[in-house]
Subunit: 305 residues, 2 copies
Amino acid sequence: MINQLVEKIKKTQAPIVVGLDPMINYVPKHILDKAVGEQGETLEAAGEAIWEYNKGIVDAVYDLIPAVKPQIAMYEQFGIPGLVAFKKTVDYCKEKGLVVIGDVKRGDIGSTSTAYANGHLGGVQIGNKKCYGFDEDFVTVNPYLGTDGIKPFVDVCKEEKKGIFVLVKTSNPSSGEFQDQKIGDKPLYEIVGEHVAKWGEDCMGDSYSYVGAVVGATYPEMGKVLRKIMPKSYILVPGYGAQGGTAKDLKPYFNEDGLGAIVNSSRGIICAYKQEKYSEFGEENYADASRQAVIDMKEDIASIF
Amino acid sequence: MINQLVEKIKKTQAPIVVGLDPMINYVPKHILDKAVGEQGETLEAAGEAIWEYNKGIVDAVYDLIPAVKPQIAMYEQFGIPGLVAFKKTVDYCKEKGLVVIGDVKRGDIGSTSTAYANGHLGGVQIGNKKCYGFDEDFVTVNPYLGTDGIKPFVDVCKEEKKGIFVLVKTSNPSSGEFQDQKIGDKPLYEIVGEHVAKWGEDCMGDSYSYVGAVVGATYPEMGKVLRKIMPKSYILVPGYGAQGGTAKDLKPYFNEDGLGAIVNSSRGIICAYKQEKYSEFGEENYADASRQAVIDMKEDIASIF
């Protein structure tokens, strides 16, 4: 799957992933009203509304980008109907030829991590049949529990040719509270980064590993160091746009081949119609605003090479 | 909810939580065959089977214990039908008067953590209605992202009078890889423990805080230190039984009032019928074996006081 991701990035010339993180207040009125009209003020209506909203965006941008990253929390907040919308979104994006990164940040130990890995990347054996739960292409994983928590994901990745992105340095203001703590002369995130490189060694694609890393756009100096520590790991970069990261900040996350990083934008794309810059599109044409925002983001990022 | 948990622990005289972590190979043949007979070798059959299996156990033990801890990964592995079984299990346990700790180990930032907190502990506003997704009483939370990731949970806990258990020192063999790394003269888990105490300060129940901690039974020396660092935090202790922790190891996790800790056992209870000790019950009577295992665990833990 990492080979497929790299290929699609080359083909679209867009090291970009669109974060499908729907909040109910992002959903245009006509979509929400229709869902509530049909199903009342229920979780079911919310699930239907975010799915319709997503579908509109995916239809408008799928030819421009290699991948999407649905954040499962935004679906899980609506309980089962929300997760049904997540599953529909994953399936639809795959149909459209997009690589799907499930932003699930799971992480547990032993058999529990195996269960998450099977639920999201692999399958479970039921009698003689192998059945697939959510079946994303990549997921994000939390490293706090150590190798025990990561290895089950790596095993499933090898079997299914899928991939993970391990949280190394997150984009949020308080990420340093634990991640920047000095262990001897190195911050914790560097030690985690060294583990990422090691975990990825024995599951290499053509040029990059199945094991990637999450490093926030908001910490470019750290991105530079981590790029060197994990040369074969793709870096998934959140924090561009709404969170404050700029194109200039992104350069250190890429290798000299112009590859090695993929930059996420969520709100900036899916909620573009609410920005003054794109307000001419109007709420009804929210998806066209998202398309224009993707085109602008591609240009912005292309400017650093 | 922490008050309710403490009260139920006193009433049952059992600082015990039963981990409802169903694996498909734990489910007795008669239950699995029935489900597969009705729905084929599908995720739906798996979901139905684990729900029936859980229900049997809950019916057999609910009067003996204060709380259950379903591990969501074991449901999530079966996709949507598995999560339907999770939701049914949560609802049923609450009907039976049990406190439900969702072992979800979620953790993200800002609005994403809020979404998880709303999905599992609080509700979401849809039009004029507040709707609840999974609605557990407590959840476990991963601290790697720092205060940004925890605060949204604490806010929802205050509003809904619910609680969280933050991962501090996990029970698995490689938990030390990052958690034991020395920051100056202190290991990382102590620093996380200090944060837990601080996060819990302004959301106190009668004697314990809404913010508890997870500390594995397999590291009693560390449990002793952490007990002192977080005197007002309830400690959820995994790793007893199948993972190697013994009753003797548990003493340091409790305060002098005999409170302050709740010990989880999963496999040891729900899969008791597969142990030689309980084999006389037979597979059909798996729930009676679980009841006996709970009685034995209560006795074992009572022996340390």
